[in-house]
Each structure stands twice: as C-alpha cells, then as structure tokens.
Symmetry: C2
Subunit: 168 residues, 2 copies
C-alpha cells in the first residue's frame, strides 16, 4: 500500500498558496521551484485540484494558482481524493467467483464480507483525513517554527507572487 | 492509493485454511487452483504470512499450509501487514527541506505536521483493521450463504486436504 508522492507535494502547495494575498496568484513554475520538483509533474496535481474545486487557475501573464476555498474548508481528504482519485485502495476482484465450481450468481448479490470489512477500515481512514484542514495544518502562527516557515514563504512570495491589481 | 491484489488472495486463503482439520494442511498449488490464481504468485504471499507467524508451513509429501493461530487471533491487519509490509502508505520525502533557502536543520527535528496528520489517519485505518478477525469474517455458519460457501469449501477439501495422520 502506497500513496503517491504527489500527495505530499499537493498538500505543501496548498499550504504555500494559503499565504497569498486575496488577489494574488502563484505560477506553477514558482510552486515547483519552491518545492524542488518538476513543473510538468506538479501541473498534473495542480490541475486535478483545480478540477476538484480546491484551487482556482487564473489565466494570463498575471495568472497562476490560488485557493478556491478558505483554508478552513479544504481538508486533507479533499486533496488526497483530488490527487489520487476517488477509488478505494482495496479493490475486490471477486476472487470468490473464480476457481472450480463457484457458487451460483444469486449468492453474490451482496458484496463479499472481506471487501466490506476492508472498505469499513478505509472509511475510518477517510473520516480522519476529513477532520484535518489546511487551516489546522497552518497551526499556531506565533511559534518559532511557524514564524520561520512564514519568513521563508514570504521571502519567496515577495519575488514570485503575482497580483491581478497593481500593488502600492 | 492502491492495495495490491495479493491482499484479497491472502485473506481468502486464510479463510479457506480456517476450514482444515487440526492436523490438516493444504498445498499452495491447491490454494491457487481454488482461487484461480498462479501458484508462483500466491507462494510469495503464503511465505510472507508464514514468516509473520500467521501460517505454518508443513514440509513433506503430506505437507502444505495451515493456520499457525486460531482464527480469533488473526486480524485483517495481521494479513495486510504481512503481505504489504509494515511501511506506512504515506512516505514523507521531506519536501520542506527542498527548494531555495530551506530552513536550518534544527527546525526539522520534529516531523512535518503534514506527515504527522497523514500518519494519524493511517493509525485509524490500522486500528479498524485490527478489530476484524478471521473468526468474525467466517460469520454465522448457519446462514444459507455461509452454508453454501462451506459446502463448496468442503467438496474441495475432500479432494485436496492432506493430513499428518491417516484418516479413518
Ligand atoms: S471476493 Fe473480493 S474480497 Fe472477497
Ligand atoms: S515535509 Fe514531508 S509531509 Fe511535510
């Protein structure tokens, strides 16, 4: 069982975008440079998150990505599902119907108990991810760690953030 | 996020083995035939479960696999960890330390909050899997479905189960 590394990148991108001004935007290339990953690879995840309504994609020379919702309204589950897709990790291949003399079809109307149990556990996983928001992950902004993170973010954004309107 | 199809096969193998007589054993080839999968592929998972102490591997012409613990003492978590390995699905690649001007190392002594949150959700997943045992999955043996499953299993075991001692 493995979650693609795109999830770590996507969550950190959303965290970075939560620092933008209301009319700000950050190009994919800047997000990629900040995280030390390839733009082409990151674009796939940014587009998936835009498609899921988590990010807005602003076109044009002042464009880029910004959050489409407040940080309180974006959960880790939203991001994981956008990047990894909605299919459950466990996929029942109906092994009970293979091999010699399988039971007649009427016995297979209900899902296999094994599949139900595996999916029950995934529901617990998803329920936990749904409780964790980007706002919560930003954390207490007064701790020395978060102040240092913010300083690094702001130094980068000063160079790369774009705005729809001229800043004074 | 995807769980290998070996997990479905492994759980169904353990369920099948839970029908054996106390001194019975079922060869890997019979388990593979019953589930319509390749023996070579299944062997990997059977050996992993034997290595994890869930199955016993009985050598010799009367040998094969049997449970090494009672069905009440084998959980879905035991099987998933044996087959998929103990590593968590989310693997933090320390993306926070990449890109321009990363924070000095002393800020990275604690795990990233994102990684901690993802692992918290996995703990909820594993806790749920740990509560589900093979005994529970065998279910109420008097339902028509379970009676039909048992009949199919027994017909197969009559042909393929091996015993350490002569049956009378
Ligand atoms: S048939 Fe797929 S989990 Fe049982
Ligand atoms: S650095 Fe890996 S999850 Fe944040």
């Amino acid at each position: 069982m493995k979650i693609g590394e795109g999830v770590e990148q996507a969550i950190h991108c959303v965290l970075m975008l939560s620092n933008l001004q209301p009319d700000g935007a950050l190009p994919a290339a800047a997000l990629a440079a900040f995280h030390g990953v390839k733009t082409s690879y990151l674009l796939k995840h940014l587009q998936a998150m835009a498609g899921a309504g988590l990010l807005a994609s602003i076109p044009g020379p002042r464009g880029g990505y910004r959050l489409a919702r407040r940080p309180e309204d974006i959960s880790l589950l939203d991001i994981v599902l956008a990047v990894e897709g909605p299919a459950p990790a466990f996929r029942c291949a109906e092994i009970r119907q293979r091999g010699p003399n399988p039971l007649p079809a009427e016995f297979h109307r209900l899902p296999c108990g094994v599949a139900s149990a595996m999916l029950r556990a995934e529901r617990a996983y998803r329920a936990e991810l749904a409780t964790i928001t980007i706002a919560e992950l930003r954390g207490d902004q007064t701790t020395p760690l978060n102040q240092a993170i913010n300083q690094r973010n702001c130094a980068f954004l000063d160079l790369h953030e774009r705005a729809q309107t001229e800043r004074t």
